[in-house]
Symmetry: C2
Subunit: 535 residues, 2 copies
């Protein structure tokens, strides 16, 4: 826990500032990417300048100790962290804030909040870390509801129990990444679920949105880490038993993994952990032929070597992040283990890469420590973690940066990449009247296909950036789905991905989900508009 | 496909006989285990001696080409392959045969069968290979239904499409193990899902029951192999899209993995495959301290080495299977790869074993071929595959052999093993009046716990063997569940495991499953009595 307050319009704490030097560096990169000579920033909003609708509902006395209608709290819970969210926040647009923000301290508080919402037709929006980039935590805009209560789980932030023998722990779902790791540290265990939003996203959010983390192979999705769950629903608690694996009927946890807050609030989970790695090897492999690089990664994905990191970054992207001069693609390759030196693993992986023309600096190879890892890999990694801090500064300057990610079988990947890049380039030109940048890397790899991650930049009109952004995104997502990719590998569905999700999931499965909703949340208070519309 | 006919009362084809020499060998083992000097066998039943109820329903003309009421077909589809099934079959008890057996040739045939069943209150029991040991394919005994149609999927036996690049194939769900592998062979790919019932169980059965296969780690459950599914339900088809992974909401396939035939009939699946291994190393490690052997396997499970085989067999079991003299426990340890020699993997695994007092024959180590593998390991493996063929011969002699399997976190394992062994020994003595044998091995291991597999032998009364068997099993299963294990890791639920499943799954999750049933099978025709009772 901390007394520092989060920005209500952007990433991080109020005192987290990006330095002028960093901004200068990024402006230089954006100039090169977008051909814009000079950027002018609109100012960030301040609390006092924003008008906010009065709460439409009154908190009952019994709930007053866990609820607030404070202006800051309501503004802060109006948006997630997507470009549309930040763009609207920066222009001071907070049309649909939650009426009340609740900070339950116990499961009984959640039950009481559900009862209140149910009897008063209020929408209940579960809130973990607020880092959704898909409209997952925004109050719904639907006549059915008389108001919205944002339920912030921040007080559920404890590691309750550690079973070091079975390498697992019972953890409250509201805990954010750093506080989770801090509590695990004395045990020598770690969750190692270092997604880009790690600092400000919660365990419950990872589970509800099926996030993916640190490992490029094997333990990629949160699904693999969940041993059991406890969920509070308006119809009662659902608590699964704790087993390494079971074959007893459909897995109950799988109903809540990806439930996006629509079926209940996850309060606790038993989570599988790892020992802190003591052996590491990292390097960056350069390829001059992208298709061959992809082949190398495919063979690697099917080798059983299970690298912890295997991020293939195409040359354009590696260039603007400073790890390539633009003549070669980079594969950031890493192995780690708490059990054994990983030299043999790395040696075989590099043998595979060499077979496809890959080259690497031999001095970058080290299984002593990740610190001596390749400078190119490090440079990329730093920018990866710093990424979200830049978003509001980019948007204030009219720069849109979006990432669209998917997973696709290997045989469809080349055509998918070509189509997504072509269509997104076309969309950027049509919407903004000028060219942009669209590049691809892999975040995770599987024996049957990669998880490609497209990053695009465009320079738009600051007064209607949110709308331009969605216009471009719609075309890019459609291209990705048309080419056989899933609408999301790990960014979640929220409300923004609904149009594609509605076609991706089997129609009858939606009927089943609606029945599950009816059983668990008969008054349809929970996060309306995700997965399907309220009836 | 074959013209050979399966035995209607036991394992394998009618011309599959166990040799007198094999029987002699087993009788010697049983004498040692059970203290019975001489075994007398009741004869196996013959078709002509069995009286069978007339079909209670008439096949409509339009379905006559895919349906039969032939006596053999009905007897053969009356039971699965469990001890109760075989014991009843051997004593000629076929009280509740299906009235009709259907062999659909197309999905439309299945739809037509569902329509017929739905409008006539008939139970529809999906039938793959018929190897259920938990009462999963037996016609239900419930007033609600006017008759039972067993739907045998044997004509759905083709590999329809192979994507060698993404190492996956689209496969019809009725195919049995050997025919599946035969069709894959030219591609160099293999499913390697070699469970004990591999010869006679079907892909659809593996999926519907969440079977586990060849690999002791990593790719253990069928869940890991399923890329997408096609399911025909009474409400329509559910067909999921094919991705390496997706984060789009709850995974639709997970509803049908473990659905036990109650929600639809799986007709096709895209399945993840492996390249045929070209590098192998196998050995058998001996331990004189069982607790230390368990510790070695735990460390191995958490090492990231992912052995293909890691079966720890306690000394009593290793002794009667001929791979130990009874003074040491055996860890059958194997690595395999299609990519790289596995010597380094094996070397590190043995280093771990050595740390806990493990010893092995150095000449048994070879990464050239599995053929030079340790004799002890091989001896056990042969008996593993031959096991099911013995069942009817054992039962005809009054010998019950059951396997009860579970998964449990590491910190609970020692107490679980002690409790299950003590309780099952007690049950055998109480029920049969004489001592029996109860031993434990691991079939699969996970970083958070093993899948212990208990084998027990008891000598009973041939005239009421089915009842004695269930009386013992009930106590053993209860002990397993009381000690924190799941009711099944990979043997499925069927109807026999319902009493424990009903307590294992969260109550509200059962409500959700019933809603799913209502959505997909509103007339409740599909496999009544599995997962929950018909309303």
């Amino acid at each position: 826990m901390t007394d520092r307050r989060r920005k209500f319009y952007g990433w991080g704490y109020e005192d987290d500032a990006v330095t002028p030097a960093e901004i200068g560096e990024f402006e230089t990169a954006w100039t090169r990417l977008l051909g814009v000579e000079k950027f002018e920033a609109v100012p960030f909003p301040t609390l006092d300048k924003i008008a906010i609708r009065e709460p439409r509902i009154k908190v009952p006395g019994a709930l007053s100790s866990v609820c607030t209608t404070d202006k800051y709290d309501r503004l802060y819970h109006t948006y997630g962290a997507g470009t549309v969210d930040v763009a609207k926040a920066i222009r001071g647009e907070f049309r649909n804030p939650p009426d009340v923000v609740a900070y339950p301290q116990s499961e009984q508080d959640i039950v009481d909040l559900f009862d209140w919402c149910g009897t008063n037709s209020l929408a209940a929006v579960p809130y973990g870390g607020g880092t959704s980039v898909t409209g997952g935590v925004n109050p719904p805009d639907h006549d059915r509801y008389r108001g919205t209560v944002s339920i912030d789980m921040k007080h559920f932030d404890k590691v309750l129990e550690i079973d070091a023998t079975s390498q697992s722990a019972r953890i409250q779902a509201g805990v954010l990444g750093p506080h989770l790791e801090k509590q695990l540290k004395p045990s020598g265990l770690t969750m190692r679920f270092f997604l880009q939003a790690w600092e400000f996203s919660s365990l419950g959010g990872w589970i509800a949105t099926r996030a993916a983390g640190h490992f490029a192979t094997a333990y990629t999705q949160i699904d693999d880490h969940v041993q059991s769950l406890k969920v509070v629903t308006p119809s009662g608690n659902v608590e699964s038993k704790r087993f390494p694996v079971s074959g007893s009927g459909p897995n109950p946890d799988r109903l809540f993994l990806g439930s996006e807050g629509a079926l209940g609030i996850i309060t606790e989970a038993w989570i599988r952990l790892h020992k802190r790695p003591t052996h590491r090897a990292m390097t960056a492999v350069k390829f001059t032929d992208y298709d061959k690089a992809v082949e190398a990664v495919r063979v690697l994905s099917q080798s059983g070597l299970n690298p912890a990191n295997a991020r293939l970054i195409e040359r354009e992207e590696a260039e603007y992040t400073g790890s390539s001069d633009g003549t070669y693609d980079i594969l950031v390759l890493g192995f780690e283990s708490a059990d054994h030196p990983v030299d043999h693993w790395m040696a075989r992986a590099l043998e595979i890469c060499a077979g496809f023309g890959g080259k690497w600096e031999t001095e970058s190879l080290s299984s002593k420590s990740a610190e001596i890892a390749d400078a190119g890999a490090n440079s990329w990694r730093q920018k990866f973690l710093r990424g979200p801090y830049l978003r509001e500064y980019a948007i204030a300057r009219g720069v849109m940066r979006e990432t669209m990610e998917t997973a696709v079988t290997w045989e469809r990947f080349a055509a998918l990449r070509e189509h997504v890049k072509a269509e997104t380039h076309r969309a950027i030109r049509e919407v903004t009247g000028r060219p942009g940048s669209v590049t691809c890397r892999f975040t995770h790899i599987y024996p049957d296909g990669p998880a490609p991650y497209f990053t695009w930049f465009a320079y738009g009109d600051k007064s209607r950036l949110a709308e331009q952004f969605m216009a471009i995104k719609r075309i890019g997502e459609q291209a990705m789905v048309d080419a056989g990719g899933t609408v999301t590998h790990h960014h979640s569905l929220g409300r923004d991905h609904r149009p594609w999700y509605d076609k991706e999931r089997p129609e009858l499965f939606c009927t089943v989900l609606k029945s599950a909703k009816h059983a668990l949340d008969p008054r349809q208070i929970l996060n309306p508009g995700v997965l399907f519309d309220p009836s």
